[in-house]
Amino acid sequence: MGWFKRLKDGIQTATKNKKEAPDGLWNKCKSCAEMTTMKELRENFFICPKCDYHSRIGSNDYFEMIFDGKYTELFDNLLAKDMLKFSDLKSYEDRLSVAYKKFGEIDAMKVAEGKVGRKPLVIAAMDFSFIGGSMGSVVGEKIARACDYCIENKIPLMIISKSGGARMMEAAYSLMQMAKTSAKLAALARAGVPYFSFMTDPTTGGVTASYAMLGDINFSEPGALIGFAGPRVIKETIKRDLPEGFQRSEFLLDHGFLDFIVHRSNLKERIDEMLTLFKMEEKVS
């Protein structure tokens, strides 16, 4: 089967099989090993009832948790392109088609428009399951379009980051998305549109060093890994162990890089509050 056919099949699987784990399935907590049913976990915002560990969830879960009912996905027709014909142990084409089939997503970011407490909001949320939530051209372009859309319609923007950083297979293109997204966010700021940056586990590399740190409000989930260099790289460089809690949300709050940490069960309420406080002028229609 040619890569193109596989790619197409994969994308179709991704868009059709929005598979949700069945309620009866058991989930083992990554932090304390407690067994919980999916139903119970879902009802508890995917937080472990025993140890409060916030398990990693996808863009759709956040959209459903935050928006009042229905929401509309925007710019959902963008697909990654292997412009460098990149190949390491695997080709980028293969990595993409595997990702489409296996994870049911078509890239590492989804953008949706909806309402929170009847106030409009655009959310761009990352999916870590798709090649480590890496930032390539599609992620950059979605953020760029989301910024343009929010400027045009005077709607606040929220980005939910969850990423290992750059998508190496897009090399310089990936790097330049840092400049692209930052330039677009600067335009959003000039237009007076509020931008809320929400960091979740993990937020590292070029994503942290661009849009994640540029919020008018920077906030995060508890216990999330947030940093520029990954802990492994730092450990190899300095050749000693890292302090307890290093690069976790609480550490960043303590060092002055977050406005606050919000528990997932209070997330919607907090966003609602922020939208009330940072109210955009009503559009004259």
Binding site: L89, S182, T208, A209, I234
Partner: protein
């Protein structure tokens, strides 16, 4: 002279040349014909070697120990330069230097990553790997430039921003992000030159400009070939392949539309004739600044937004649907 592995044929020729010159001196024999022959041979060999460099060889040249660094260029091209220190919050980073000076009569703010010229200085400069205070100093100087309407010149040469505990505590990511945000909206011209290594966010942190240029024997990418090899190949042994795969040479960057132009280097690299390289750089900067200083602030900012806004390659889902191979 330091010879890189692929320059070994040259080393032999230069050794021969030295010997003949010595013979000439000692014996007072006229060897000028032989010397001329040998010099011709060296030039021919050089042309062959440097005409077909691989990505990895460019990386090696970009790190050549005799390659000129930021302070050398500043010394050569600026008049009345005063180095300005410190970010005003925490410290003075030694891996990013900058100050105010005149280039061909134009007062400007010039800055860049600085590597050390010997073992002791390499430590002192932290191998050109900046901490957050380096990026914050850079931003402070850019804001100074903005206040007085001076253009900003950035020279890029870093193996990456420093990955350390303190760097994370002081917000390495925030410092770089803030620079990108502020540079995108800076009201004065910014021109950037990759003069050596352009590794990742550490390079980009002073690299967002109206125009970006690369010297011929430099590289620019999201990660170094070594780190890329260790992550994707799970071994340090595939750096040559990684360098090819990353398409990190100036030629590629020009093809991608991420840089405006490539600055030719003297044959054999900037290290063979630093003064000449400095002259090339100076006249280039002069030409760029005189053009950019004519452009209104708003147009600079919207031009920058457009320049970066269009970087990215992607497919559309519908068009893929229609094509059925």
């Amino acid at each position: 002279m330091v010879f890189l592995d692929f320059e070994k044929p040259l080393e032999k020729l230069y050794e021969q040349l030295e010997k003949i010159k010595q013979v000439e001196e000692e014996g007072a024999v006229d060897m000028s014909e032989t010397i001329k022959e040998l010099e011709k041979k060296i030039t021919k060999e050089k042309k062959e070697i440097y005409a077909n460099l691989t990505g990895w060889q460019r990386v090696q040249l970009s790190r050549h120990p005799e390659r000129p660094y930021t302070l050398y260029y500043i010394e050569q091209i600026c008049k009345n330069f005063i180095e300005l220190h410190g970010d005003r919050y925490y410290a003075d980073d030694k891996a990013i230097v900058g100050g105010i000076g005149q280039i061909a009569g134009q007062t400007c703010i010039i800055m860049g990553h600085q590597k050390g010229v010997n073992t002791k200085m390499r430590q002192y400069r932290n191998f050109g790997m900046a901490n957050p205070e380096g990026y914050r100093k850079a931003l402070r100087l850019m804001k100074l430039a903005e206040r007085f309407g001076y253009p900003v010149v950035c020279l890029i040469d870093t193996p990456g921003a420093y990955p350390g505990i303190e760097a994370e505590e002081r917000g390495q990511a925030e410092a770089i992000a803030k620079n990108l945000f502020e540079m995108a909206g800076l009201k004065v011209p910014i021109v950037c030159y990759v003069i050596g290594e352009g590794a990742s966010g550490g390079a980009l942190g002073i690299g967002l400009g109206d125009r970006v240029f690369m010297m011929e024997n430099t590289w620019y990418s999201v990660i170094s070939p070594e780190s890329c090899s260790s992550i994707l190949w799970r071994s340090w042994d595939h750096k040559e392949e990684a360098a090819e795969a990353l398409k990190l040479t100036p030629d590629h960057m020009l093809e991608f539309g991420m840089i405006e132009e490539i600055l030719k280097e003297p044959l054999g690299g900037a290290n063979t004739d630093p003064e000449k390289m400095a002259r090339i750089l100076k006249s280039h900067i002069k030409a760029q600044l005189s053009e950019l200083m004519e452009i209104a602030s708003d147009d600079l900012i919207s031009g920058r937004l457009e320049r970066y806004g269009k970087i990215g390659e992607y497919n559309f889902f519908e068009s893929l649907e229609k094509v059925d191979p």
